[in-house]
């Protein structure tokens, strides 16, 4: 980092934290139960530290930013290929999240 200088406040803080040894190693998410997102960044259900405080929440605020490029494909439908119309009724997820459907027809029990 000798030849690099932070350009904004956040980068500056991060650098200071790093120098003070306050930055933890990011560990892969392995704390979740079966079916949880394992290693995505940011995580969906359980954060890298095994809690939820570092999750990207409220998840409605950033839903399409993260799910549309299919970062959470196991938990949020990807509207790119598989479920094109999933978000159509909820253009602003923070407000319209109630209009989002749950994918998987539960009336087709085997």
């Amino acid at each position: 980092m000798k030849h690099m200088k932070p350009l904004n406040q956040k980068a500056d803080l991060l650098l200071k934290a790093q120098e003070a040894g306050q930055v933890d190693d990011v560990v892969a998410m392995q704390a979740g139960v079966a079916g949880c997102t394992a290693t995505f960044d940011p995580g969906w259900e359980v954060d890298p530290f095994g809690g939820v405080a570092a999750l990207c929440q409220p998840m409605e605020a950033d839903l399409y930013g993260c799910s549309d490029p299919c970062w959470w494909p196991a938990q949020v439908p990807d509207t790119m290929t598989s479920h094109n119309q999933w978000g159509d009724k909820a253009p602003n997820a923070t407000k319209d999240w109630r209009s989002l459907g749950t994918i998987f027809p539960d009336n087709e029990d085997l």
């Binding site: 392995q30 704390a31 979740g32 139960v33 079966a34 079916g35 949880c36 997102t37 394992a38 290693t39 995505f40 960044d41 969906w44 259900e45 359980v46 095994g50 809690g51 939820v52 405080a53 999750l55 929440q57 409220p58 998840m59 409605e60 605020a61 799910s67 490029p69 299919c70 970062w71 494909p73 196991a74 938990q75 949020v76 439908p77 990807d78 790119m80 290929t81 598989s82 479920h83 999933w86 923070t94 999240w97 109630r98 989002l100 459907g101 749950t102 994918i103 998987f104 027809p105 539960d106 087709e108 029990d109 085997l110």
Partner: protein, 516 residues
Amino acid sequence: MKLRYSWVALGLLLTSSHLAIAAAPDGAKLIENNCAACHKQPDGTYSRISGQRKTPEAWQMTIQRMRRQNGLELDANTQRLIVQYLSDTQGLAPSETKDLRYALDRDPAAQEVKFNNQFVEMCGRCHTAARVALQRRTKDEWRTHIDFHVGQFPTIEYQSLGRDRDWYKIAVETMVPLLAEQYPLETEAWTQWKAANKPDPVGSWVVSSSIAGVGPVFGVMTASPKEGVLHLEGNLQSLDGKTYPLKGTVNIYTGYEWRASVSLGEQAYRQILALSEDGKNLEGRHFAKGQDNLSTVFKAAKQGTGTQILAVYPENLKAGKEQEVVVIGAGIDQITTSSAKAIEPLSKMEFGAKVKVASQAVGASVDLTVGESVAKLPVYDKVDRLSIEPPYAVARVGGNGSSTPPANVWFQAVAWLNGADGKPNTEDDIRIGKVNPTWQLKPFNEEAEKLKDAEFVGKMDEKMGLFATAEAGPNPERVYSTNNAGNMKVLADYEGATGEAQMIVTVQRWIDPPLR
């Protein structure tokens, strides 16, 4: 004509003389009519289809995807019959699903620990590793499967562990041979299972299970065929004597995969069970529809197949006391005991018997024996510690006018004695079974305390250990209007003995396939 269990229809159970068998629907014909246009190859096989075997759930997911994305049109009954045919002819043997039942019966607390890093990084980072391990394919099929993923989920290559290494090369050159070796299309297990006599689901089953927030339930359900459909009917009851009538239908796939839709009491329930190869047992989980986070273990023993104890309640005896015990199982005619004092028979029931037994010295157990089946009731004076089941749980916010129901959690406490060494958590500890403690929630750590998780995540029923999750959606009362998520410590106290578990309360699942 509707036909719900085609193994039977296919004649594999024709030996069961009491079955009136209707004509089998021609599964091959259905595939020809509905799949051939896109899949049939010059040699008569079907591209993609012929090279794989999988579970009924996996076949169903494939067909649903065909409908969703490729314009396939099918009515519900035809879809089910195709799933039936494919599961019967290209399914998995019992031994191939044995260690992965948690993915099929939706065990909410299952943690996948047995898959190696390479496998988890490649496959288990988006879905359960079991979803893969519950499939068998030719090498070519596994290879095609990789390219299918790239096409279906193009961003797979720039997710973490996709963008930061040569993902595609590893997938093709390392994973394909590995998958082909570990999960090949042709196996001895499948060849044998195809030829084996299949267990007969028809008959009376003694059931031992539980209902979240209620406790143990037990009783008898009978499976009987009527007009090509296998009907279930019976009654379960809880320890306080409340009855839960059970009625519905069951489909049998691949000769042993039991999938039932029933009403239990006033709720719609699903049973996802496996018939044992010898036909004597059923085991899996059941849950109220839409509430699989509250699923519980469901066991049954077939009447007329020998003697077998499924459960005893209570599971333990307090020292110096005589205790009434309900013994649940099949063929419970005569119970003998290891106790110096003989058992006093109280009543014989359809699902077992009620007896009175005397306790013994602390640390010993009173053994109840029926045929070759033994139930051990540990005798205790004072409980040393509790363990909590599940020790780690995930609840999910839900409701609040949305399409996702809350995913609640039911905790149960198991009491332990420290054993001869007097130390907790050592090999000689004695499990004395489930007890009913009082329950409470505490923040799991400082972070949770700082974010006041305890105020927002939901409520714990302090008597039943049933946690009801708070509502979904951004909460303006929280910092950043964050969700009602949190990291909680679940504490149980029984006569001074304590135990704790961790519960993550997190966001909902917007997509929840039969195989996660």
